[in-house]
């Protein structure tokens, strides 16, 4: 079941008292259940920290994080895993290289089912389930279930990570620049697949991206971040009318001198 996400006055700062870096500065944002949000911003704007705060990998120094009706502010990521799932930017982070694809998928299913000490990681029935799940991707991955995940290409690993992250319909799906390490055609494939899954299942999704075209194309709402703050929130009719050029213009106005070619390009 997808859930809403709400951040109230969330602040994250690092460093000593003398040299303080504020990654998130008093963020207030509510994301409704089933909403698909894209987040853009220059490097260091706090996008990844935002995702990390929702995932529980970073605990805020102040403020509150709610997923659905539950206050999860101080729960570490492994105890939020039943609600939150994520696909990382690093293609090697979402899967275990030495485990087979089937074993990786079985591990991912622990997120919803919990772990049982004596149950075998793989059974014939579960392998068959994984086989049919991978067949939907149409990449031939289903025939490689017993091969180690480390032998896949980056794009294939990211596809497997996406399948793993969306198993059992998580309350919130977090996508942290999950296509930025892929070649353009693979990035399109992964992005299309992401969009299909999120739409079909009505997932609540937060996607960080540096790609303005993707930000303009996918999602129901765009958040623009700079210097640890959300400076623009584009939704509704305004979002529908948003084109890539308009988004870039708007981003330039807000982020000003911070903007670099790398962010607009890709």
């Amino acid at each position: 079941m997808s859930s809403s996400v709400a951040l109230h006055g969330v602040t994250v700062s690092y460093g000593t008292r003398a040299e303080r870096v504020t990654a998130l500065d008093d963020i207030d944002v509510s994301i409704e259940a089933g909403e698909y949000v894209t987040v853009i911003g220059s490097n260091g704007a706090g996008k990844s920290t935002l995702v990390n705060v929702i995932a529980g990998a970073v605990i805020p120094s102040a403020g509150q994080v709610r997923i659905g009706s539950a206050d999860v502010t101080r729960l570490p990521d492994n105890r939020r895993a039943g609600r939150v799932s994520r696909v990382f930017q690093d293609v090697t982070a979402g899967t275990c290289a030495d485990l087979t694809i089937a074993e990786n998928m079985a591990l991912a299913s622990l997120r919803e089912r919990g772990r049982s000490p004596f149950r075998r990681i793989l059974s014939r029935r579960r392998t068959a389930e994984f086989h049919s799940e991978l067949r939907h991707l149409g990449c031939g991955l289903e025939d490689r279930l017993k091969r180690p995940a480390g032998l896949l290409s980056g794009g294939q690993r990211q596809l497997v990570s996406l399948v793993m992250a969306t198993m059992g319909d998580p309350a919130v799906l977090l996508l942290d620049e999950h296509t930025s390490a892929l070649d353009p055609s693979m990035a399109e494939l992964v992005m299309n697949r992401t969009d299909t899954v999120v739409r079909e299942r009505g997932l609540t999704a937060v996607m960080v991206t540096h790609n303005m075209r993707h930000a303009a194309l996918y999602g129901d709402r765009v958040l623009i971040m700079t210097q640890g703050r959300i400076v623009d929130d584009i939704s509704g009719r305004e979002r529908t009318a948003l084109t890539e050029d308009r988004l870039i213009a708007r981003f330039r106005d807000l982020a000003g001198g911070e903007i670099t070619d790398r962010i607009i390009g890709v």
Binding site: R74, L75, D77, A81, F88, S116, P117
Partner: protein
């Protein structure tokens, strides 16, 4: 040279050690780290067994007690590591040093023999009627090792076992599926040390002799056995290329030792021979292009700062 004799010697003396080296392998390969506590926990198993048998208690119970107490000693290392934020290597070195005195206190002397005490090997050969001590020892030692191998293999193929294997490779992924890598590390360290304690007890019962220094080379010989085994059985299967490879590696190492012994080399040179074997194994692996695995940082296993426990 009697090569069958070399092999039989290796099987007789090696089987109990294989259990200890499985404990070393668990931390070394599944968590990509080194737990030096094993040196003391192996000795602890031997010392506890010595005292236990000299008091005339049941030798089978000595196995259980040695494993449990050694596992608890492993938990001390884990606690020191977590509470003080130390690396596993540093925490285990300190605990290892401290346990030396504990072992000395347990045994009450630097060494003790119990030739007349009842051991599991004695009761085994009485029960089965096998009078050839070497065959009886190989059968019992091999049988216990086989049971440990079977249990460990079964465990590694369960959901918890798979999570444990994954946690050493990719803690971030493991956290994201709801498993705590710290808990997995705890299980590994405790189980690894328990296996060392069990092995220490077996070795002491077989030799009918305990010495507070007998476990000193556990970690290094354990690593040697792992490397030798992996040279022979190369692959990614955790049971065949992991657990069974360690047993094969142990037998290979013991064959080498018993061969060298029969050549009449001074036993004082054993440590130097071991060091040469370790470096040779690493060199052969390197030449054969066997990769050294990815090693995650300790920090990624810990809770994010500020999280509730």
């Amino acid at each position: 040279m009697n090569y069958i004799g070399v092999l039989l010697d290796a099987l007789e003396t090696g089987m109990p050690f294989a259990i200890a080296y499985l404990g070393v392998w668990m931390v070394f390969r599944l968590q990509d780290d080194f737990d030096l506590t094993v040196g003391s926990t192996f000795t602890m198993g031997a010392c506890l067994t010595g005292t236990w048998l000299l008091h005339g208690h049941n030798p089978w119970a000595a196995l259980v007690i040695s494993a449990v107490v050694a596992g608890a000693a492993g938990a001390i290392t884990f606690a020191a590591m977590r509470l003080l934020g130390l690396s596993l290597v540093l925490a285990s070195i300190v605990v290892n040093v401290g346990l030396f005195s504990v072992n000395l206190a347990i045994l009450g002397a630097p060494q003790a023999n119990f030739f007349s005490a009842g051991t599991i090997f004695a009761s085994w050969s009485r029960a089965t009627g096998i009078h050839d001590t070497q065959y009886a020892n190989i059968l019992l030692g091999g049988g216990i090792t086989a049971i440990v191998v079977a249990i460990l293999s079964f465990f590694l193929l369960t959901e918890t076992g798979a999570a444990l294997r994954a946690s050493g490779m990719n803690p971030r992924m493991v956290r994201s599926v709801g498993v705590s890598p710290a808990v997995m590390l705890f299980i590994t360290i405790v189980a690894g040390n328990a296996l060392c304690g069990l092995a220490g007890s077996l070795v002491a019962q077989q030799q009918r002799f305990s010495d507070v220094n007998m476990g000193i080379d556990t970690i290094i010989v354990g690593v040697t056995a792992v490397l030798l085994g992996e040279l022979v059985l190369r692959g990614r299967s955790v049971v065949l290329h992991g657990v069974i490879a360690v047993v094969i590696g142990t037998i290979l190492y013991r064959c080498l030792i018993s061969y060298v012994l029969r050549l009449g080399v001074n036993p004082n040179y054993f440590n130097a021979i071991t060091a040469v074997v370790v470096f040779s194994a690493v060199f052969v692996r390197k030449s054969a292009g066997v990769r050294w695995r990815f090693r995650p940082s300790i920090a990624s296993r810990l809770l994010p700062k500020g999280a509730v426990k």
